[in-house]
Symmetry: C2
Subunit: 242 residues, 2 copies
């Protein structure tokens, strides 16, 4: 019983090769492999017509198979260090003609919650052509300058003579890569974000993604912290308002 009539497809791109952490998609946070965490959140969301994992790696295939999701065998050329997500998605769309809206989920974002996907999909049904996840950031940003040549850096997002306190700033939305909802016609233009673009604002502590080994240690701490929070207050809503 979905809200709209369009075919919503969930996809995880999980190649075997990864720098920094070997077989990153299968490392565990809170004892659960990243791939399994993502699939669980996607299933609990409950509005996907189908959920797919695109991979080039046997062990990842085996994990996906156990989780009961569909497998797409990613071509070698789309699983190299230089291949792009949009090319891997194009290959998948070519194969699967039923997709009308794709939700690309990044399984290195361990704290995806079903409610975040729900907020995103509701936005899609409410007039957006693409919706991504992001976090609000209020930091002060400066241009990269040639410091050796005593070049002055320039403020990018504030006025030095009238500098607000951080808490008084509206801030910006920083993409966190957790997920991207996109209509097929936008993807066929070669981008994840096009047309009318919306976002789901993810609380900062849920927003991290895992790239390096120190990130894994940090994720374990956040995982415990979130478990405590849920015991006290239940799962948070994705606030997409100010």
């Amino acid at each position: 019983m979905r809200g709209g009539n369009e075919k919503l497809t969930g996809l995880i791109l999980a190649r075997g090769g990864s720098k920094g952490i070997p077989l990153k998609n299968l490392v565990t946070v809170g004892g659960i492999p990243l791939l399994e965490r993502s699939v669980k959140a996607m299933k609990d969301f409950g509005r996907f017509d189908s959920i797919w994992v695109s991979t080039d790696h046997l062990e990842i295939s085996a994990c996906a198979y156990k989780l009961g999701v569909k497998l797409f065998n990613r071509s070698e050329e789309n699983a190299s260090d230089n291949s792009t997500s949009i090319a891997a998605v194009a290959e998948f769309l070519q194969y699967n003609k039923k997709v009308e809206i794709l939700c690309l989920v990044q399984c290195t974002s361990p704290f995806l919650q079903p409610t975040f996907l729900n907020t995103g999909y509701d936005l899609m049904l409410n007039g957006y052509d693409s919706v991504f996840s992001g976090t609000r950031d209020k930091k002060f940003r400066w241009s990269v300058a040639d410091i050796d040549n005593v070049e002055s850096t320039k403020p990018l997002n504030f006025d030095t003579s009238n500098r607000q306190r951080r808490q008084d700033r509206q801030g910006e939305i920083v993409e966190n890569g957790m997920f991207y909802f996109t209509k097929r016609e936008i993807l066929e233009q070669g981008v994840f974000q096009g047309g009318r673009i919306g976002y789901v604002e993810i609380p900062e502590e849920y927003s991290m993604d895992i790239d390096t080994k120190i990130d894994l240690l940090i994720a374990e701490q956040i995982n415990k912290h979130i478990a405590n929070l849920s015991d006290e207050h239940g799962t948070p809503d994705a606030n997409y308002f100010g």
Copy 2:
């Protein structure tokens, strides 16, 4: 034996009242109070003419006294939740006429290293009027939009039709608050950053600051990680180049 002739003064603003974590300036990371960690890095840097702690709190005063730094009794009006750092610094400059260059150090940045201060001060002696610490950030940023009214967000620091991979981007410098070197005449204009503005680029894992309880747990993990790194490679340089 300093490189220049100007009086360089180090200052930590450490008030007693703090939201989130009570008496935050005295909580420990790696078993050492934040205030003590900062003072140690400042002493090891070795080029300050004097090091000061400005506080309104007895326990912080006692800690500073034990560390052998100078104490400045912060006025009540400059130690409230609404008081600004620049006002607290103005009060200090009024009292201490010898300051020519001030280095404000934030003791909630637990991973300050003497080498970072060294790089910053060398820049000051090399033609800059103010130098701050920051980290390079390559994330994709978007404007805050009225999502409920199906307003489209807009990209702020890239072109959607020609989106580079993150590793190919030059990025921006995000202030991390760890320290600010500023000439007196700039501070007297009411700002920390003015004239010719430079920065020290701090490696990301050294860059965090502590605001909430979860940050403390994360800092403990980073602290262990950095201890391991130093065993292997020694302390890193502050890269202020690309």
